[in-house]
Amino acid sequence: MTVTLPPPPPAAPAREPAGRPEFVPGAPPPAPVLADVWRGITRENPVLVQFLGMCPTMAVTNTLANGVAMGTATLFVLVGSGLIVSLVAKYVAHEVRITSYILIIATFVTLADMILAATFPDISKALGPFMPLIVANCLLLGRAEAFAAKVGPVRAVADGVGMGLGFTLSLSLLSAIRELLGRGSLFGHNIFGPRFEPWVFMVMPPGGFLTLGIALLGLAFIIERRRRRAERAAA
């Protein structure tokens, strides 16, 4: 017993300033909340920039409805788990934090799964095991550990909203491209008319890799061109 007692006191004060650098209870959040939201959609976009949550990104983006449903469910879980994690983080022992966070996430995923099954049974059936698989989405544990546990509830929720919107927008974009080319429809409504020959490849697994690959190549092209322009302007 005497051996285990000494470590906690130095650990606790060391974690307090490192864990919550800016947040003072009662004071307004130091960083602009909108910046936290915007960051998740653009510069730190979970799919297009950070490559987090790849499994749902590929597996469910074969129709736009599935993509939007998966994105919205993930947004809900991100906001809920972010809020709870930011509130309880300082009471959770360091050794069991990952397990605790994953249990909080799993609770919200179960909630989202039940809500979706009650409101949109068709989409819930189409997503199948990929709905409970949100638990294993690295994005959720990543945000809980890297951000929500270190800031106050307001910023944690803002970050959850931003990351969730960024995730939903990326999924919607990919699934819109895949459904449009692979089935000639959007949300199940026919767009190209009866003479369109569906490009079935796009709704099959390789089409998912290819769509994201081309999207990333396009993004890299834009970034590279912007960098070269800036270099030319500087020279």
Binding site: F51, M58, T99, I102, A106, T110, L217
Partner: protein, 192 residues
């Protein structure tokens, strides 16, 4: 017996966990820079998959019969503790491998393939033997996909590709080609 053989071939090739079902993509893109780490992580995954299959089957048959809504939470606890056991075993018996795998060993917890196996074996109503065969097939399929990807990426490293394709874009297009190759196995029949 033919049923077991079919489950094995189906999860190994026709419905390969990574390239066709999109499970375990994080390690597929994250750990495939070197072939040695890739196949070793694949085998570590196989072991965790086996533990998970037994754990999930036991939970389903004896504990969660009346509370199916607790499945997600219960399974993730099984997975997390399974990973913990493997981590301790590897650290004690294979310290060199433990250092090589580093952060990716605990990260198996958030590998969708593990939780996915538990969920799929539940929704397909596999018995214990079928679950074990399913786990071996899935694990070897994962190892195969990781090794294939790693050997291709080692070649890409030394190739002269355009600046635009130096990052993940090209890797995803390569993955698409690999996945297309695996679609060829679909001719062997669809999943039971």
């Amino acid at each position: 017996m033919s049923n077991l053989a079919w489950i094995f071939v189906s999860t190994l090739l026709v419905n390969n966990f990574t390239l066709v079902m999109f499970l375990g993509l994080c390690s597929f893109f994250g750990v495939t820079a070197k072939i040695e780490t890739a196949w070793r992580l694949g085998l570590a995954n196989t072991f965790v998959l086996l533990l998970t299959a037994v754990g999930a089957w036991t939970l389903n048959t004896y504990v969660l019969t009346r509370t199916p809504f607790l499945r997600t939470i219960a399974f993730i606890v099984v997975v997390a503790s399974g990973v913990q056991i493997v981590e301790m075993a590897v650290k004690k018996h294979f310290p060199v491998l433990f250092r090589q795998l580093g952060i990716y060993l605990p990260l198996i917890t958030t590998n969708c393939a593990i939780l996915g196996l538990a969920l799929f074996q539940t929704s397909r109503h596999y018995n214990l033997v079928e679950s074990l065969v399913f786990a071996i097939g899935a694990g070897l399929g994962l190892t195969l996909a990781l090794s294939l990807m790693a050997s291709i990426r080692e070649r890409i490293e030394v190739a002269d590709v355009p600046v635009v394709a130096r990052r993940m874009g090209l890797v995803l297009v390569v993955a698409s080609c690999l996945s297309m190759a695996f679609m060829g196995f679909a001719g062997m029949g669809s999943a039971p």
